[in-house]
Symmetry: C2
Subunit: 565 residues, 2 copies
C-alpha cells in the first residue's frame, strides 16, 4: 500500500516548491520523513511539492502505524455559516485596533468597529498602550496582526522561518495552520508544555467530578446583578451624549454606571482570558433602521440575559476583570484605570489560562472524553439548526399575528359592526339592547385584533432573545471543541511515539486538563440550557395562557351584553 | 306644464303601435285619457305610441292633480341580484310542471326542476290533476302559464283582449304589468274588490294593534317541532332510495316521516296561499361537489331553522296545510292524499287570502304606513347588504382558521418539536423532564392547530345558517313591499278621483287590510330577527369562549409539564 495522507486543513501554496492542499484531500507521500516541518508528496491534481506536515494526517505507512480516528477529520465548525463568517472577517482585512472577535451571528453579531451614535469612542481610557499589548489569541484576527504578535504564548509557525523544535517533544510537532483555533487559543502551546506562569491561589479554577462528569466548582458566593433602564448622559458640556446603564450587583448592593463600550471592553478581555469557556455574546451594538426606543429596550433585554449568563457562570462570575467591572466605583477614575490596565496586562491569558485549571484527582478516560465531545458536537449542531428554524418560525408567527391574525379578527369585528349598523335602523324598544350588544361585540373583536398585535412582545420576543444568546453560545463551541480535539490529537500522536520517546505523560496530563475544562463547560452549558429553556417555556406558556384568557374575558364581556337583549 | 308620466315598470312593445318604456323613464303624454287601459305618448327616445296606463304614474296634469310621492318610484326589489334572478328564471322558460317559485338566493336557492340523487320524483302522488289546477300567482312563472291560468282570482290584462272594466271603479284601472307581483299576488284584484269567497271562522287571521303597531295575533297554542337525523329508506325492493326525516311536533308528540319533496310541496302551497307573508326558504335541495354526509347534516340544520321559523309564525304555524303536513300519519296514504288535494284546491289563495284578514278596528293612517314601509325597505336593503358582507367575512375567517391559522400553530408546534428533538440528544437525568415537557408543548400546539380546524363548524357555520334563512326572508320582502305599494298607489289613485266617482271607501278599506298584514309581517320579522340574532350571537360567543378556554386548558396542561422539569 502506497504511503498516503489526508489533509486536515486547507493550505494555499505561496512559494515555489509548495503545493496547495484542500481539507480532506488525499495525498500520496514520497516519504514520511518530516523535514523542518514539511512533507513532500503529490496532491489529487497531480501537483508534486512541499506542504506542512501538521496540515495532514498520515493514513498508512510501511511501519503499520495509523492515526486513530481516520476518516473522521473534524471541522472547526458544525455550522457552515459560522465557518464562512470567520473566513469573511479575515478576508475583510479588519483594520480595527480592537482585537475583539467577529463571531458572525446575525442576531447577536458583534461589531467593534461600528461607531454608534450614542457612544463615544474617543475617550482617552480606550487608547492606552494596553491595546497593542493584547495577545492575538482570538479568532477572526487578520494574518498581519498575527505575524506582528509578540506574545510569548504564541507559537511561531514554520512558515515564519523558525527552525526551533518543541522543547518537550521532538515527535509531536506544531500545527502549521496559522488560523487554527487550537494554535491561536494557546491550547497547542499549553499541550506542548510551553506555557508557564505563576498562578495565585485565587486564580485557580477547580474542575470537580460531579454526578454527570466534570463540572466547574460552584461559585461559593453566588450573586446576581440587576440592570436598570439606561439613562442618557452628556459630557463636554452637552456636546456628546451616551447611554449609561446602572448595574447593581447583589453582593455589593452598590450601583455602578457602565456604558456599552465598557461591556465591549470586558467582553474582549474575557474572550482572550478563557479559551475554552463560552463567553456569552453581547447584544448587537446598534441595530439599523429601528426606532431608538425599541432598540434601547431590546439591547437592555439582551444585556440582562448576558448578565444572567455571566453571573451564573462559576468561572466567569468570579474572575477579577468582571468583578472590577461590577464593583469599581463609577466616580473613581483612577481605580478604574488601574483595574483596566491590570486586566489588559493579565499573564494568565491564552495558553497560560490552562495553568489555572485544577483537574479532578483521577484523569479522565480519553476514549470516554472523545465520545462525550463528539456527542456534544452532534447535539450542538442539531440545536443550532433547530434554533435557526425556531427563530424563523416564531418570527413568522409574530409577523402573522401582527398582520394577518389582527386583520382577520378586525374584519370579523367590522362585519358585526356592519350588521349592527343595519340593525340600528330599527329603533324599536325591543331592538335597542341587541343593537348595543352587537356594537359591543364588534368592538370586542377589534380589540382582540389589537391583542394579537401586542402579544408577540409579551411571549415570542423573550423566547427570541433567549434563542439569540444560545445561538451565540453555540457559535462559540466549535472553537472550544476544536481546542479539545487538537489537544486529543496531540495526545494520540504522542502515544504513537511513546515507545521511541518520552514526554507523553506530560502531554496526556495537559490534554486531560483541557478535556476536563471542556467537559465542565459543556456540562455548564447543558445545565444552563435546561434552566433557561424551562423558565422561558414556562414564561411563554404563561403569557399565552394569559393572552387567551384575555380574549376569553373580552368575549365574556360581549356575551353578557346579550343578557338583557 | 306638459302632461307627463313616469314609467313604474319596464314594458316591452310587442305589437305595432306600442312603444317600449323603461322603469323610471319620463314620458310625454298626448292626453291623460285612458282608452281600454292604454295611454298614448312619447318616450325619452322620441318614439311615439301606446303603452299600458297602469305601467306609469301621471306626474302633472292641467287639472293640477299630481300623484303623492312623486319621484319616489319604488322598485320591486332592493337588491339588483334578486330582480335579475326573477327575470332569468322567466327567460329560462321553465318547463317544470311544478309551480314553485324561484327566489334566486344563492345560499338557499330553490330548484324545483333539479333531480336530486336521493330523491324520487316519479311518485304517483306528485302527478295528480291538482298540479294543473294550481293558480299561477307566484313569482317566476313564465307568461304562458299565466295566460292559461283559469283562476278566477286572476285578473285578465288588456293585452289579452279583455275589454271588461273593473266592477268597483272605472277610474282605478288595472296594472298592465303581467309580471308585477302586485298583479300576480292577487293584491290588485283584492284592492279592486274582485276577490270573493267564503271564509270560515277558523281561517280568519287577526291583525291586532300591539305596542309597536299592527301584529299578527299570537298563536294561542304555540308548539315546536323536532327534526331527527334523516334515515335512508328504500322502495321498489331497494331499487330506489330516499332520505326520510322524522318530525315530532310538540302538540301531538307523534312522529311523522317526511321526505324533502314533501317540504317542497308544502312550501309551494304556502307561497301561493300567503302573498304578504315571508315563507322561509327551504335549504337547497342538493349541493354539488359536497360529501353526502356533510350535505345531509347541513340540510338538516337548514330544515331545523326552517321549521323554527314556521312553528313560530302566528299565521303559518296554524294553517291547515302545515298542520296536515305535521300531523297526517305517514302510513295513512288515503288521509295524506285527501289533505293534499284539499290544499291544492284551496280557494283562499292569492286575492282571496286577503279576505281572511281581520284588521284592527281603527284603520291605519296611510301616510304613517307609507313611512313605516319605506323605513323597513331601507332597513331590509341595508341588512341584506350587510348579511352578504358578513357571510363573506365569516366564510373567509373560517377558511383562514382551517388553513392559515392551523398551519401557523402547527408550525409553532413543529418548531418546538424540532428543538425538543435536539434536546433529546442530551439524555442526562436533569434534561429528561424538560425534554418531555417540550415534546408535550409541541403536541399541544399541533392540537391547538386542529382545534382551529374544528372550530368553524361549532361557531361560524351556525351563524352562516342563520344568515342564509334571513337572506331568504329579505329576498321575500321586495314582493311583499311591492304588493303593499301597489295597494297604496291604488288607494291614492282612487282618492284623486273621489270627487268624481264613489268606491274609494272600499278601496281604502282593502288597502288598509293589505297594509295591516304587511306591517304585521314586518313586525314579526323584526321580533324574530331580534330573537334569532340574540340567540345566535350568544351561541357564537359561548362557542368562541369555550374554544379559547379549550386552548387555555391545553396550554395549561403543557405548562404543568414544566413543574417537574
Amino acid at each position: 500500500m502506497a504511503l498516503s495522507a489526508r489533509a486536515l486543513y486547507d493550505f494555499v501554496s505561496e512559494n515555489p516548491g509548495e503545493i496547495s492542499v484542500v481539507e480532506n484531500e488525499l495525498l500520496t507521500l514520497f516519504s514520511e520523513d518530516v523535514v523542518d516541518g514539511w512533507l513532500e508528496g503529490t496532491n489529487s491534481r497531480g501537483e508534486s511539492g512541499l506542504f506542512p506536515a501538521s496540515y495532514v494526517e498520515i493514513l498508512s505507512s510501511d511501519k503499520g502505524l495509523s492515526v486513530q480516528g481516520n476518516g473522521e477529520a473534524y471541522h472547526s465548525s458544525y455550522a457552515a455559516g459560522t465557518e464562512y463568517s470567520y473566513q469573511r472577517s479575515a478576508q475583510q482585512g479588519d483594520t480595527s485596533t480592537e482585537s475583539t472577535p467577529t463571531r458572525g451571528y446575525p442576531t447577536y453579531s458583534y461589531h467593534s468597529t461600528s461607531q454608534g451614535s450614542d457612544e463615544d469612542w474617543d475617550d482617552d481610557w480606550d487608547e492606552g498602550p494596553a491595546a497593542a499589548n493584547q495577545p492575538g489569541g482570538v479568532p477572526g484576527k487578520g494574518g498581519s496582526a498575527l505575524a506582528s504578535s509578540s506574545s510569548s504564548a504564541y507559537p511561531a509557525s514554520p512558515r515564519r522561518g523558525s527552525t526551533q523544535q518543541s522543547r518537550s517533544s521532538a515527535t509531536v510537532g506544531r500545527n502549521l495552520n496559522r488560523f487554527s483555533t487550537f494554535v491561536k487559543s494557546g491550547g497547542e502551546a499549553f499541550v506542548l508544555g510551553e506555557a508557564s506562569g505563576i498562578v495565585r491561589e485565587e486564580d485557580k479554577i477547580c474542575v470537580v467530578m460531579g454526578q454527570f462528569g466534570p463540572e466547574w466548582q460552584e461559585n461559593p458566593r453566588p450573586f446576581t446583578c440587576s440592570i436598570d433602564d439606561p439613562t442618557k448622559q452628556t459630557k463636554f458640556k452637552g456636546m456628546k451624549s451616551y447611554m449609561s446603564y446602572g448595574l447593581t450587583p447583589s453582593h455589593t448592593q452598590i450601583q455602578v454606571n457602565r456604558r456599552y463600550k465598557h461591556f465591549d471592553w470586558l467582553y474582549a478581555r474575557l474572550v482572550e482570558r478563557f479559551p475554552v469557556i463560552s463567553v456569552p455574546h453581547l447584544p448587537e451594538k446598534q441595530a439599523t433602521g429601528r426606532f431608538e426606543e425599541d432598540f434601547i429596550s431590546k439591547r437592555r433585554k439582551g444585556l440582562i440575559w448576558w448578565m444572567n449568563h455571566m453571573t451564573t457562570h462559576p468561572v466567569l462570575s468570579r474572575c477579577d476583570v468582571f468583578q472590577h467591572f461590577l464593583t469599581c466605583s463609577s466616580n473613581d477614575e483612577k481605580a478604574w484605570k488601574q483595574g483596566k490596565r491590570k486586566a489588559e496586562r493579565d499573564c494568565l491569558v491564552g495558553a497560560n489560562f490552562f495553568l489555572t485549571i485544577i483537574p479532578p484527582a483521577i484523569p479522565l478516560d480519553l476514549q470516554d472524553v472523545e465520545s462525550k465531545v463528539d456527542g456534544f458536537k452532534t447535539f450542538a449542531k442539531k440545536m443550532d439548526e433547530s434554533l435557526a428554524q425556531v427563530n424563523v418560525t416564531l418570527g413568522e408567527f409574530a409577523r402573522k399575528q401582527v398582520t394577518g391574525f389582527r386583520k382577520e379578527y378586525q374584519r370579523v369585528g367590522q362585519a358585526f359592526q356592519l350588521l349592527g349598523q343595519a340593525f340600528e335602523l330599527d329603533q324599536q324598544e325591543y331592538s335597542l339592547k341587541l343593537n348595543q350588544a352587537m356594537a359591543f361585540t364588534a368592538q370586542a373583536y377589534e380589540a382582540v385584533g389589537d391583542y394579537f398585535v401586542d402579544q408577540p412582545r409579551q411571549d415570542l420576543e423573550p423566547v427570541s432573545d433567549l434563542l439569540a444568546i444560545y445561538q451565540g453560545h453555540l457559535a462559540n463551541f466549535p472553537d472550544i471543541i476544536h481546542v479539545q480535539k487538537g489537544a486529543l490529537t496531540k495526545a494520540k500522536e504522542s502515544q504513537r511515539h511513546a515507545d521511541e520517546k518520552d514526554g507523553s505523560a506530560g502531554i496526556n496530563e495537559r490534554c486531560n486538563i483541557i478535556s476536563c475544562a471542556t467537559l465542565a463547560e459543556m456540562q455548564h452549558f447543558h445545565r444552563t440550557r435546561v434552566r433557561d429553556f424551562k423558565a422561558q417555556m414556562q414564561h411563554y406558556l404563561q403569557q399565552q395562557i394569559a393572552f387567551y384568557q384575555r380574549i376569553t374575558g373580552k368575549l365574556e364581556e360581549a356575551l353578557h351584553m346579550y343578557d338583557q337583549a
